[in-house]
Each structure stands twice: as C-alpha cells, then as structure tokens.
C-alpha cells in the first residue's frame, strides 16, 4: 500500500492511495482541495461586481505529477475538500468516478459557485486604496500547481460527474469497496473506508467529536482496520499563557466566547462583522447567538448563495444530529435560523452591491435592512474578495465596531492586513469544531488500527511537544512527510500481507458444468475445473477455455496442492522427524511470514501463507523438508 501527499498539511487535502484490490492495484485520490493559505498571503483585493479577466491564481494539487488516467476513483470527505475538483474533471483526462455524500455535493457546488463569483473570471484586482501593491505568490514557491479559477460552467459540469452517496452506502469499484461514514464536522462530511478482500484502509479527515448540528461521528464502522490515515494535523491547542502547557478548548466554549464578544459590542452601540462561509460553523454561531444575545436589529448574512445554503438546511434532515432529526420527524423545521428568518430577526442578501465605497450608493434594499448596530456575516472568510471587504472598510474606522474572525484557517493577523490601519476592535475567536490532538488520540484508541499513518508533526520525535503527538496503542506509527515546495516526495509505503484469496465471478456456462464434492465438515465443497482467468477492472472472471486455451491447460499437472502450511503443524512435523534445535521468529517486513531456523544443519525456512522457501547447503535436508511439508502440511486434490 502506497500513499502520497499532494498538498501541504493544513491547506485542503489531496492524497493518492494505491492498494491491492481484487486482481490488481486500485488507485484512489483522497480529496481534491484548494490551498487557500497563499490567498491570505496576498495583499490584493478582488472586487465581486467589476472586473475584466482574472488575475488571482489558486494553488491546487499538481495533477501533472500523477497519472490521472490511471485513477479508478476519487473520494471527497467534505465540501471544503472538493474545491479543486473542476481542475481535475474539466482540465485533465481524468475519467475516474468521483464519490461524495449527497449533502457534500449540494453544499460543495454552492461553495465552488461562490468562489467563482468572488474570484472568478469576471473579477480583476482592484488597486488597493491605501497604496499597497499586489504581492501575489510566486509560482515557484508552492508545492503543487497554480491556476486561474474555473468557471461556473466548469462547476456545473463537474458536479454532474460526481456520484452522490449516502452514509453506509457501499460502492464496489476496481476490486475495492468504498464506504462513507459520518465524521461529524459538517453536513455530509465523511471518513472513508476503503477495503479489499484482505485489507481495510480508513481515511480520517477533519473529525469532530463535539455534538453539533451534523450527524455525530460514527466510530464503529472504522474499527478493525489495518491502516488508518490521519489526513491533517489536528488544530493546535489553546495556550492561555506562553509558559503554560496548552489546553484543550471545547467547541461550545468558543461559541459562547463568540456570543460574549458580539453581545458586548452590540450593547455599546458597535457593529459586528464576521467574515465566514455561509454554511457550517455559521449555523452553530446563529444558534448560539439566538440563545445568548437579544438582537435589537436583524442579523444579516451576505453571500451570493446564502438563499440556497439556507434553503438546503430545511431539506437535509437525514444529515442532522439525532436531536435535530427528531424535530424533522415531528415534523418541524430543525434549525433555529429558519424560525429567525421567518420572524425577520435574520435576513440574508446575495450582496451589499456597493458600486463604490460610499454609503450614499449602497443598495437600497440592503440599506433598509441594515439597521445599526447590528451583526453581519459575510464572505469570503479570507477577506480578499466579496462583500466583507466593503463592510470591513465601512466599519473598520470606528473603534466601537468589531471584526470577529471565526472561520478555521482564516483566523490570523494576515487576514486583515489589506485594511490596516484599523481603528475597530479585532477579535480572534476561531470556532473550529474539529478534534484536537487528545480527542483525536482517543478516537484512534477506539479505532485500534494495526498501523497508523500520521503527519510527521504529530509523531513522537524530539522536536514535537508531547501534547501534539498521536500514539497508536495497537501497532506502529509511521510519520507522513509534508509536501514541500522543493519537490521532495511525500510518499509512504506500508508493507501489507499478500492477499491469500481473491473473489472471482464464474460465468454461467462454467458454473453449470461444475461438479462439486464434499470435503467433509460443514459447508465446504470443492470442484475441479479447467478454466481461464480474465481480469477486467481488477475483477477476475473464470470462464470456459477456448480451444487455444485447452492446449495450454493440457500442459499443467492434474494433481493440485491445496491449503497453506500452518506454523504449528510444520513445527510438530519437524519434532516428529527428530529435528530439535529450532528457532522461530516472525518476519518484520511481511505480515504472516515466519522464519524457522534449524540450527543443526544451518537451514532457514521462510513460511508464508503463499510460499515456502528453504535455504540450505544440504540437498537431502531440502528434500526431507519438502516431503514433510507435502505430506503433513498441505492436501492433494
């Protein structure tokens, strides 16, 4: 099994998995995210309504570095990790099937269309009014590729190619089966289980153990896996003082902290601007706000797709937590914000539609809705495009007002640099529902993988502080290297047991001709057949031989060995034969393989389920061992 990282950690996921599946090797792309971090490094703003051609490039996985035509499937864990998908489906020769949960497809589509409206072809960089210039990221500095954004047409074409699935739905492709189970973070967010007949691989991505609006984290199906991959380092812990040991914070605490900031700002007559996405964390913020802060004026959500995002929350009962689902069954509307919207305390607008930065020309509809002091949620959370840029400028000059940065990944001082100097208050209140290291650690302890793959920064080493280290109580931990700009590979190969069995389909013609014989015992029956294997899409098909095949088959022996040598049977047989000086050890590099050393004759035997190798200087010893194995350890049919 081989895993390659295609993007830096913490920046949107994209990994390439190759594993033995069926009769061949299955290649699966795990997620297809855009790295938005370089966007924040840029000091340029993009105007949503004006513009002649794009000038911002987005950092996505370098599909030229992999063989996209050999991809069998692409699986998407959540809507944030599919933003680079149109680059793959519309601009490469990739014909792989793409799988994502139905909710992730619905939300992801809106997110991509919104990204296009903010940063797409229609926009051009607006000269920054405070004299700053565009410091775009140079192409050479990123690990991956840079491209101008896709178009809305690309998005719709791409979405048509995605196969929507539900949780626990099993899809067979290229000899492996794919199954999404809830990761508990967003509507439709998923951990993927990819299993072949002999191996089970679990891809953990952005899990959340806090109970909030989506379906809770589903742990049971992840258990008993061979390899578990942690896709990204968990969000850092919270340090109250630089000298103190960092602590876990609870998601609920951060939500309460948020409403406390909002409450005190509004009470003092200030406005609150919250740069965020129109989905996900926003729904939790609104719920907490409704609970904690009496709003004098309606709260506003500004996003080109807010209407559709909110409409979606009324029809996604299947993807909600048990508490909200129960409301859906009554039947009532599961989200508080639906009621807030119905009674006018929450409004949403596609845009503030400011043509220039003066309040005189603000959109009339929006202007009537905007009654200060109030709270406005607006995108894009990077503050590089969208209405948030105008609102930040409008309110940034008054010390009464506050900007509260909440969206994970967009909660640093960088985000607001284009607007400096800012007179308003700035609060960093990252509301990240994702598991932190200790919580992720207990998830891994519950999953008990044979082998854990984790980002290098989460694996025990002198440079990593102890509270950021993931342990695996059941087996080894392999560090996963970061994808770097210098082009160094970020690949891990995990030795895995050779498959002992394969599933094969038998054609009806062949099936009719088979005569079965009981082997004794319960349900085991065997049949001999002269037939030919054919491989297609990693699936084996057994069919009747053609005349040409018959000729070849006549050359093979008629007696067949059956079974595999058990270590205990072999050792007993050796003792019976009078061999006493025996040492046994397990082969480190291959699961299920044992090295048996016969000290008397300086002979070494490698015993594995699929082959037995004898290494000796004495031919008579080799023959003796061969006879023992044939007679005692295997069966003839």
């Amino acid at each position: 099994m081989r895993v390659e990282n295609l993007l830096p950690f913490g920046a949107g996921q994209c990994m390439l998995l190759q594993m033995e599946g069926g009769a061949g090797r299955a290649t699966v792309l795990l997620d297809c995210g855009i790295d938005l971090v370089p966007l924040c490094a840029s000091k340029c703003l993009f105007h949503p309504t004006e513009g002649f051609g794009a000038s911002v490039k987005f950092h996505h996985p370098d599909f030229a570095s992999i063989d996209v035509e050999s991809l069998d499937a692409v699986v998407i864990s959540n809507h944030l990790n599919m933003l680079a998908l149109p680059f793959l489906t519309e601009y490469t020769r990739c014909t792989a099937k793409v799988y994502a949960t139905n909710a992730a497809v619905a939300i992801g589509r809106l997110m991509m269309l919104e990204l296009v409206e903010y940063f797409g072809n229609r926009s051009r960089p607006v000269p920054f009014p405070f004299g700053l210039t565009h410091h775009g990221t140079a192409d050479a500095q990123v690990a991956g590729a840079l491209s101008y954004l896709y178009t809305a047409h690309d998005v719709e074409a791409c979405v048509q190619k995605i196969n929507g699935v539900n949780y626990h739905e099993v899809t067979d492709i290229a000899g492996v089966s794919l199954q999404a189970v809830s990761s508990g973070t967003y509507l439709g967010s998923a951990n993927w289980i990819i299993s072949s007949l002999s191996e089970k691989f679990v891809y953990l991505c952005d899990c959340c153990s806090a109970l909030h609006h989506p379906t809770a984290l589903d742990v049971m199906p992840l258990q008993k896996c061979h390899v578990c991959l942690v896709a990204s380092p968990p969000p850092p812990l919270f340090s109250p003082q630089p000298q103190q040991q960092p602590q876990c914070y609870s998601y609920e605490q951060t939500l309460q902290e948020f409403t406390a900031i909002v409450g005190s700002t509004l009470r003092q007559g200030g406005n609150v601007l919250v740069p965020c996405y129109p989905t996900g964390v926003l729904f939790d913020l609104l719920e907490q706000l409704h609970k904690d802060v009496p709003l004098a004026h309606p709260a506003l959500v500004v996003s080109p797709r807010a209407n559709e995002h909110f409409a979606y929350t009324t029809i996604c009962t299947e993807w909600l937590c048990a508490e909200k689902q129960a409301l859906g069954f009554i039947p009532e509307t599961p989200f508080v914000h639906t009621a807030m919207h119905a009674c006018g305390s929450l409004l949403h607008y596609p845009t503030t539609a400011y043509q220039v930065f003066t309040s005189a020309q603000r959109n009339a509809v929006f202007a009537t809705a905007l009654r200060e002091p109030c709270i406005v949620f607006a995108g894009h959370p990077s503050c590089r495009g969208g209405d948030v840029t105008h609102l930040a400028r409008m309110w940034g000059s008054s010390p009464k007002n506050a900007v509260v940065l909440v969206e994970p990944g967009f909660c640093s001082a960088d985000v607001l640099t284009p607007f400096e100097p800012l007179a308003c208050q700035v609060h960093y209140c990252e509301c990240d529902p994702r598991q932190q290291c200790p919580q992720l650690g207990s998830l891994i302890a519950a999953v008990r993988p044979d082998h854990l793959l984790a980002p290098a920064c989460c694996v025990q080493s002198p440079s990593n502080p102890p509270w950021s280290v993931l342990a695996n109580p059941e087996g080894p931990v392999t560090p996963f290297p970061e994808r770097k700009a210098d082009g160094s590979t970020a690949t891990v190969v995990i030795p895995t047991a050779q498959a002992r069995y394969h599933n094969a389909d038998i054609t009806p013609e062949l099936g009719k001709a088979l005569q079965t014989h009981s082997l004794g015992g319960d349900c085991v029956e065997i049949a001999t057949a002269s037939c030919v294997f054919e491989t297609k899409d990693n699936r084996l098909v057994l069919h009747n031989p053609s005349l040409a095949d018959m000729k070849l088959l006549s050359l093979t022996p008629h007696k067949h060995l059956w079974g595999s040598p058990l270590l205990s049977t072999f050792l007993n047989a050796l003792l019976e034969a009078g061999v006493n000086e025996i040492a046994v050890e397990a082969d480190e590099s291959r699961r299920g393989t044992y090295v048996v050393t016969l000290r008397d004759t300086n002979t070494v035997v490698w015993l594995s389920p699929t082959e037995t190798r004898v290494d000796t200087d004495y031919e008579e010893v080799r023959l003796q061992l061969r006879d023992i194995i044939l007679a005692k350890c295997l069966r003839h049919c």
């Binding site: 539900n166 626990h168 099993v170 409409a311 009962t317 859906g328 039947p331």
Partner: protein, 460 residues
Amino acid sequence: GTGKIRVVPLGAGQDVGGSCVLVCIGKVVVMFDCGMHMGYTDHRRFPDFSSIPEAIGVAAAQAQAHTPPPLPPAATATPPPEGSGQAAATVAAPLPAGSFNELITCVIVSHFHLDHCGALPHFTEQRGYSGPIFMTYPTKAVAPILLEDYRKITVERKGDNNFFTQQNVKDCMNKVTPLNVKELIQVTDELQVRPWYAGHVLGAGLWEIRVGTESVVYTGDYNMTPDRHLGPAFIAPVRPTLLITESTYCTTIRDSRRARETDLLKRVHKCVERGGKVLIPVFALGRAQELMILLDMYWERMNLNVPIYFSGGLIQKANVVYTNFINWTNQKIKQTYHKRNVFDFKHIQPFERNIAENPGPMVLFATPGMLHTGLSLDVFKKWAPGEANLVILPGYCSPGTMGNAVLNGAKRLDFEGRPSIDVRCTVIALSFSAHADAKGLPEQSWFGHNNAASLLKFQI
C-alpha cells in the same frame, strides 16, 4: 448455502389488507411490514401474531435451540393502558412479552400506508416486540401522523377503546431506526439490510436482505413510472435468490399517465362548471400530494377560482414533511425547491367543517381514501344524493368498506339506526394509483396484495 428460504404471510396473501410477511433464512427471521386491515374492526384488523411460532415452525425451533429461554417480561415494560384490553387476548393466549424478540430478528416497514405499518404500535407496545425496526426517513416521519390520525378516528370518534394509544404510537416510533436509500446496515453478524427507492409514496422502499449467500428483495408497493412528485423505482441488479413483490394491478395495464391525468382534470372541471361539488377521498399523504400538484397547476393554467380544500390539520404537517424530505421526491422538485416549493399550494386551502354546507361548486380532498370512516364518509353522506356532484375514488377500496360498495354500484346505502342514503352523484374510479401494473411487474416472483383469480394469470 444456508438452505431453504421460508415465506409465511401473516396478512396480505390474497387480499389488500394488512401486509405482514415473515421470511425465514436459517436462523434469521425478518418480518416485512406490519400492516392493519382496514376492513375489520375486531381482532382481525391486526395480523395474527400469536401464530408466529407455529408459522415459522422449523426455523423457530432452531432459533430457540440456539438462544437462551425467553426472559420474563422486563420489569420496565408498561402494562397495557386502561381500556385497551388487548384485542387478540380474547382470541389466542398472548405470548409472554419479549418472546417475539427471540423469534424475530428484525421488522422492516416498506412504506407509511397503514396497510403496511398500522399494526406496528400494537406489535411493539401491546405484544412486547422490542427488537430492531427499520424504515426510511420519510416513513418514520409520516407513519406516526397517519397512525395518530387513524387512532383518533377509531378511538375518539367511533368510541372503540380496544386500540393502541397516542403514547403507544410515540413509544413505538422511538424504537425505529431510520435509514437512507442504499444505506447498508449490518443488523446481526449474519443479516444485512438495505433499502432501495420504490417510488409509490414518499419514502417507499424496496428492501433487500442478505444472509450468507441467500438474499431476498421485498418490494412492498412500488411504481415504475415517475409521477409529478416522485421518481421511478430503482434497484441495482442485486440478483436476489427470491423476489417478493406486490401485484395489486397485475391484471391490468393502465392507460398512459397523461391520458389518466387529462381525464381526471376534464371531469373535475366539467363538474364544477355545472356548479357541482367534487369529493376526492384520499389517504392524507402520498397520492393526495400528487393530485394536489396536478389540480393546483391546472387551476393556475385555466385561471379557475372555484375553491379547492384539503381536510384536516394534516396539510400543513404534510407540507413540512414533504419539504424536510424533499430529497426523496423527483429530480425536478429537488432542483427548484429554493425558488418555488411545489408543496406550497396557491389554490388549495384548509377545510373547515361548515364549508361542506356552502352552496356552489368546490373540490374537496378528504381522508380516508376508502370511505370507511372520518370526514370523507361524512361529506359523502351529504353530497351523494346530489346529481350534479362527483365522487372520484382514486385508490383501491378493500371489500367491506363503503368505497368498495359504492364502486360496485350500490345505489342505496344503509346505516345502522340512521336513514339510508341514495347515491345519485356520479361515481368514478380512476386507476390513479401508485402501484406497478402488469407491464411494471417482474416475471417470476412471489406475489402479495391480490385476489386469487388474477394471481392465476401469472401462474399459467
């Protein structure tokens, strides 16, 4: 393999009554549907659960040999509420509570119609079954509404106290695990369950179960033709060992959908034009929504202002359910919901009882569909003598119901202790039903939901 598959119908069999079919594969026993027979008011309305041990016979004996003896009834089990002295108790000795859990691996309800889920609260709350129950999400939302509606009519209006209670319905539904389409659930080490899309009504499922190498697909009711709000039934080629399918309409091939729709609209329009009243008895959820979408659009197109009413407080509830679970409707409705929610009707308003006395034309959707009780029967009694009026019975009517009598041409209806009623209005039966017809049915399978004569057609 695991050997034989045994199929034992506890209801249905040869009658559109309560569906309840046991399927035994080795030690696994699955109950498909737990329906109520609307034609009866005595113990026969529920499947004969007491016969389960005998019915599953060999399989049960094996099961008991491998499981500990039935536990005594759990201390927390609530006694049957006052007034509902177990209907079946007088007929057969009830089994100790909890023993059904030993006999039955799980219960699967195919869709929310009462002839498929109506006996479930009785089975869980009064007969003590507390094992796994599976339904789709919309079924879990709609079934309790219909159960409660029917309970009210039976207990509060007809004074029949021999029935489950409101609390029984709630407790029963809390035991249900909702599933999404294609969600694969490992119920026990041996048994896998997976629902597929059946059309028919919102949330109707085709159910696949798998035990070892054996598998069974139970269709419940399904529909291969997309309608105004649902898509066509869909299942992957899962190649089951056994297919159990409905066959209500296996002896007829219906006219094209468009022809049927046009026919309905023309008749309704003609009637209201002449000042008549149109009564359309329907089940509260399901076909009603499709007919309402149809009439709402027609009224819009023809610019009509004759009022259309829908009975009961169920309409608002129904609309919220249909909105909450719009992912189970067809592609077009799903994609346009944020612009225009089709379940937000422009021309259809809630009905109030005195409106039935109003002069002038009107259209009324009223429950229940088979005219056996409730508002549809009350209004029918008032409107049936009027020659200008029209009654459209869109569904199948069980023998023993008023709807069945009227469909069979009864011109004079007698009611115990009340003056009889002359039927002078026009009565038509449109085969406007969400069942597969002979074209839509598969060739070889085990049929439920039909009468003996038409079943023979398939046996030839």
